[in-house]
Chain length 406, copies 2
């Protein structure tokens, strides 16, 4: 089975947003053995959408359409699917009732334009939307499978996971492309590529983003016998640089290690300004392992809220390993936590350009502390995100008992 | 003139990367008055690329092709352009000499595969690549303009700026598309669409994301006379729902208002867990208006760090307007701030599903306080993000002196 992805939205053609939905859908389809042959983005024009859909239905076995299912006048995907397949739109009474219940629960009145979200082409099945109001649409048309999903990423992803992928997995008998992703932190892409020289090739790719590098191993299921050996080789060469697999995250791994060891964490943040706490709190069950966070952006807040001695700041500066350690120590004491992680640094755009990207991370635990200083490029947002990744990775290595720690 | 963008690369179809090049090219073309009607992504398959190019040349006046110009055997765009236009590839001696000089400068030997980067279709002109080795290709084919650029973003962007955009500006006489984006918060997309009934149409579109809705006004420069009137109408109907224009953000607007009024902010966060502070600290110059943030995730942290009276939590619960106000009051006092904003709520996935998405926001200032409670759908991350947007918007309205405030 071969798929095409059709994204609908004039904002894509105007270049106001990148087509991240097509990326998500394509990766997910590949994961269940349905490779994507073409991605198309088309504007909010019913004739254009219809033309693109007809062409896709003429070439592919599976067409995933994304966007244009909302309640406004420029949401035209329903009409276009109807026209391209010659199936009239019918209002689904069950869907109307479901929408009414949903609006009642939220204490909102349902507008007439919401009601048209219950229109589906004749013979189609609606796909439940667990996180929004626009239902999706599934229909089989002359042997072609058509899945129509909303363009809001959360809603689209929930329907891919909840309906499209399980449905396709059953149909393909699970004959997937086998993909295995190893996630690393703490090493630049080019250094990692050097470590994997001779291994990187048609089955092994390396992709960098925001201070992390992913190693992807890929093969068709029929030819996946070599993957375990390749994975062993990659793991041997990379050691503890690999922090996890699949779609896990560094904060999820760190949360798991803290839970395993029965430790509770506090964080003290300057330049990351809450982002580090937010990443940790984003993992379900955070209350088991996270105690408190302090965003101490000014020197005064560092002294008042974290008890950093003024003379440490005076002698070593706000961006110093000494201040980072004092911040971590203060956060741990105040929050009555077992371990505390801190960040301080200069994210720019001011002051002196030379200082921008210099960052210190501190760690304090019962009986010891450690700190690291490093530099990086990128804009304000990128520096803050990379600092969080760096800090989380340092905490991970400490939790693993990295012998490199003092 | 109407354009299409064709992106070449199997990594796009595998979903390994998002098609950010198509976004850049589309936005840039719109800026010189050449709207994009279709974006297509195709894999490294010479037959498929040729087919897509033929179709694009049959519909558009301008085709920008991106990717597949490198030196490896899966770089097939040259061959496909040659096949689609019936123009044989010819080796350009001048380009070979240029490549040789470039390699000599870098102290590297030129491989035979690099040499084939000097192949161009008959009658085509090469486009200088100031930042890499792969030259671009420009050709006029039966009245169609074809620009072929490398897929490396830096190289593509340099050639867009250096060649494609100046060339097209001359041809269109500089007739740009005029776009104006109004950003709103505090109203769902469908309600906003109802308020704009009769205005939404070919020149006015509405796009929702993460608790915000953007209203985009668009027209070709030659026909932009009506936009100011449309914008006035939209602003009249939406009033203070419009928080800004263009690519500003809610946190940027709130930071500006705080600065104007000489007020300094503290935040106290439960379910948002640092995300609210992080959004504010993300705006350059945050130290002028932001004092401190407290992530008090547990009841104990709320009592200890924010001085929330235990009996308030006992009587009203952790997710209550009373607790939200006490958190804000405590943060303001501890941080010696002028105003403090707080969030508390249930982001899921546990406990009782009914409670998930119930959120309270509190505000405390010298002489008063206020709190709001509301519900929303979505996953954990989405609920947290929407709560931040809701809270920032409440603070904005207070800073504007919204008369609805107690």
């Amino acid at each position: 089975m071969i798929a095409e992805v059709v994204s609908v939205g004039s904002e894509l053609l105007a270049g106001q947003i990148a087509n991240t939905n097509a990326r998500y859908i394509s990766e997910a389809l590949a994961g269940v053995g349905v490779p994507v042959m073409l991605q198309t983005a088309v504007g909010d024009d019913v004739g254009q959408i219809e033309r693109v859909l007809r062409a896709a239905l003429g070439r592919a076995d599976v067409v995933v359409v994304c966007g244009g299912l909302g309640p406004t006048h420029d949401d035209l995907t329903r009409e276009a699917v109807s026209a391209a397949t010659g199936r009239l739109l019918e209002r689904d009474a069950g869907l109307v009732a479901g929408l009414e219940r949903r609006f009642a629960r939220m204490g909102r009145t349902m507008s007439p334009s919401n009601r048209q979200q219950a229109d589906v082409p004749a013979g189609a099945v609606s796909i439940d939307n667990p996180v929004g109001t626009a239902p999706g649409i599934f229909l089989e048309d002359e042997g072609r499978l058509v899945y129509v999903l909303p363009g809001v990423p959360d809603e689209m992803e929930a329907m891919m996971r909840g309906f499209v992928l399980p449905d396709l997995s059953v149909r393909t008998g699970g004959s997937a492309i086998v993909t295995r992703t190893l996630r690393t932190a703490g090493i630049p892409e080019s250094d990692l590529a050097d470590r994997l020289a001779g291994v990187i090739g048609p089955n092994v790719g390396v992709y960098a983003s925001e201070g992390e590098v992913r190693v992807c191993l890929t093969a068709p299921a029929s030819d996946a016998g070599g993957l375990p050996g390749l994975e062993r080789e990659v793991r041997t060469r990379l050691g503890s640089l690999v922090y996890g697999e699949g779609d896990t995250t560094l904060e999820r791994v760190v949360s798991g290690l803290l839970r395993q060891r029965g430790l509770r964490l506090a964080v003290a943040e300057s330049l990351t300004g809450g982002m580090l706490a937010s990443r940790i709190v984003g993992v379900p069950g955070a209350s088991d392992i996270f105690v408190a966070g302090y965003v101490a952006y000014s020197a005064r807040a560092k002294i008042r809220d974290l008890g950093v001695p003024p003379d440490v700041i005076e002698r070593h500066g706000l961006v110093s390993t000494e201040t980072a350690v004092a911040m971590a120590l203060g956060a741990r004491a105040r929050a009555e936590a077992d371990v505390a992680l801190s960040t301080t640094g200069e994210a720019g755009p001011s002051p002196a350009e030379a200082a921008v990207g210099r960052v210190c991370v501190g760690l304090s635990w019962e009986g010891g502390d450690a700190a690291w200083t490093f530099g990086m490029g990128g804009g304000r947002e990128m520096i803050r995100r990379r600092t969080c990744t760096y800090a989380l990775n340092r905490l991970r290595l400490w939790l693993l008992g990295d012998p490199g720690l003092g």
